[in-house]
């Protein structure tokens, strides 16, 4: 087997293993539920019968591993069980139905952000690395340090204050529904996307800058320069093949960061995404929804890091030409 293929398969296996362990960790959180959880969920008016029925409904009368297998088998088929909100009543709300439209909204927001943020920050980062210690570099450094240090909701509210309230270019809240058209959706998601872009670009730009500076300091680049190869060729032919791996890592790391940033930003702009759903469910302690959201977030996070790993293996020139 080709060594590249073997390494890639190894990584895929390791990624799947991590995903499996994480799913167990998320499932086990239910086992940590303190006593009296049913009473807390059902409220003060709960009779012993309804509590017993609730415990039976969420399956606390069966061993944990049986419930885990049932749960994970459902998840693989796209069925996350039913929400606690409908328990006790006649209508059961399927978690999958609650999540699906919001998942689309969140991915919409994340993808729009990524499309703008990734090229922008790569460009800014490479420029800062090439013109190191210049006025441009110092300014960008100070600005990005401030953006990183500020909480997301601070940036979000400043943008909302200026562009939605004072200038009235956008709506202060980003309510969208399934009937919202694509262009209108884009317009309403603009402010959250700009907020996330600002946060992500700061991180990504700084990491790109560090990675490129690191690379340009290697002896083989100096050798190429000393041989008299034109600067453009040094970068395209010598630096770039080795730069793909750090750049892929930087992008994946920051898109993974986006996964977390999205929670706060969605709440600020009342954007109906999965992050907002998760926060609401945490407040009402709707565990099936919380677990489903956590699993989706964690899986996205792991998959992004996994793909960065694979890109860096595939583009590694040393692995492509084995001796």
């Amino acid at each position: 087997m080709h060594p590249v293929l073997r390494t890639v398969l190894q990584r895929l296996g390791l990624g799947l293993l991590t995903l499996f362990i994480v799913s167990i960790v998320i499932f086990m959180s239910l086992e940590l539920l303190p006593g009296g959880f049913a009473e807390a969920i059902l409220g003060q008016g709960a009779t012993p019968e309804t509590v017993a029925a609730f415990n039976k409904e969420i399956g606390l009368d069966r061993p944990a591993y049986v419930r885990y297998v049932e749960w994970i088998a459902g998840v693989v088929r796209g069925d996350f069980g039913s929400s606690y909100a409908g328990l006790g009543g006649s209508i059961k709300r399927s978690v999958t139905e609650m999540i699906a439209p919001r998942l689309y909204n969140t991915f919409f927001l994340a993808i729009v952000t990524a499309i703008f943020a990734v090229p922008l920050s790569l460009f800014l980062g490479v420029m800062a690395a090439l013109y190191r210690n210049s006025f441009y570099d110092r300014t960008v450094n100070a600005v990005t340090l401030t953006t990183i240090a500020a909480p997301e909701f601070f940036i979000a509210y400043i943008l909302m204050f200026i562009f939605a309230v004072k200038l009235r270019w956008f709506y202060p809240t980003s309510t969208v529904s399934e009937s919202t058209g694509f262009v209108e959706h884009l317009y309403r998601a603009a402010l959250p996307a700009i907020t996330l872009t600002l946060v992500i670009v700061a991180h990504m730009m700084r990491m790109t800058r560090a990675a490129i500076i690191n690379l340009l300091a290697s002896p083989y680049i100096e050798m190429a320069q000393l041989k008299g190869i034109p600067n453009r060729e040094v970068i395209m032919k010598h630096a770039l093949p080795n730069a793909w791996a750090p750049i892929a890592t930087v992008i994946a790391f920051n898109l993974a960061y986006l996964v977390v940033g999205v929670v706060v930003v969605e709440v600020v702009f009342v954007y109906p995404g999965i992050g907002q759903l998760m926060v609401d469910s945490v407040s009402s302690r709707d565990m099936p929804v919380v677990q489903a959201c956590a699993l989706i977030f964690a899986a996205t996070y792991i998959l992004l890091n996994l793909s960065a790993d694979i890109v860096s293996i595939i583009t590694n020139p040393r692995l492509l030409h084995p001796k």
Partner: protein, 292 residues
């Protein structure tokens, strides 16, 4: 031939600690000074809150949502409490909780990290694998999930975040300690028959301290921002405790009426993290000797 005194130069006394500290501080860049002043101001506000604040933490002093005036500098909040006083009390609560969490996470993560680096073996393998699994889940998401399980309380918040954050501390402590454990002086201490405690506190700890202190600053910022985010989301520090994250959330409707009051507590969070970052940046340059 008269003999001359060999050397008339006065040998200078060893520099005292305060002299050394001042020498270092004098060379600190502007940003580091700014950072230190910011931290000092926050520390004073946190320590002396009851004496500085004009009103009590949850004292209702006037009508709801009053605009800023000479009496209420930042206006009043949704039930008529003075925002300025609450911002000052918020320094005490928010920073105190974040500091306690970071300290706890360093005690757990640091101890386990150094210990596993020293002992290796199955314990190291087990803990490292568990930590790897924890690292695969973003802290905010994990914290949200655990808060859903256990309910909202400040003590639980501190415990949960400290535990989650200690996995990151563990990684750094273990990695840096691994480099030190293989040094000859550790080997010789071991051959001398020193106990584990001596080796950890006298041999390893002084040598991994600089990166750990830097990490402490960065982790504090991270924990501080995470707690603020959780409080903002309504699952962190609970009312009526004055806390910057929840203060933003409580008064957020004012933004849509074109009033900037909710931005004040948010700015308090941002300014502190920027200040700490400036100091950490400087410290990083000093200890690593990097000139880049």
């Amino acid at each position: 031939m008269t003999s001359q005194p060999a050397d008339l130069r006065v040998i200078r006394a060893r520099r005292s600690f305060s002299e050394n500290a001042w020498r270092t501080l004098k060379t600190a860049p502007f940003t580091a000074w700014l950072g230190m002043i910011i931290i000092l101001v926050y520390a004073i506000a946190a320590l002396f809150a009851p004496w500085i604040a004009p009103f009590g933490e949850s004292e209702i002093v006037g009508k709801q949502y009053l605009p800023p005036s000479a009496e209420f500098w930042f206006g009043t909040d949704q039930i008529g409490r003075d925002m300025f006083s609450r911002v000052i009390y918020g320094a005490r609560n928010t920073i105190g909780i974040a500091l306690a969490t970071t300290l706890l996470s360093f005690i757990i993560g640091g101890t386990l990290g150094v210990l596993t680096a020293l002992k290796r073996g199955w314990l190291d393998q087990t803990i490292s694998r568990i930590v790897d699994a924890f690292l695969a889940i973003p802290v905010l998401i994990f914290a949200l999930m655990l808060l859903a399980v256990f309910g909202k309380s400040v003590l639980l918040l501190i415990l949960i975040l400290a535990l989650l954050d200690s996995t990151r501390v563990f990684r750094l402590a273990r990695a840096t300690a691994l480099n030190v454990v293989v040094m000859d002086y550790v080997e010789s201490a071991r051959l001398r028959g020193e106990g584990t405690g001596w080796i950890i506190f006298k041999e390893i700890l002084p040598n991994i301290l600089p990166p750990m202190i830097t990490e402490f600053g960065l982790r504090f910022c991270f924990v501080f921002l995470t707690i603020s985010a959780l409080s903002f989301l309504g699952v962190g520090i609970q009312p009526p405790t004055a806390d910057w994250g929840s203060m933003v959330a409580e008064s957020k409707t004012l933004i849509t009426f074109g009033r900037a009051q909710p931005l004040i507590p948010a700015a308090c969070i941002a300014i502190l993290t920027v200040g700490v970052n400036f100091v950490v940046d400087w410290f990083l340059h000093k200890t690593s000797g990097l000139r880049e």
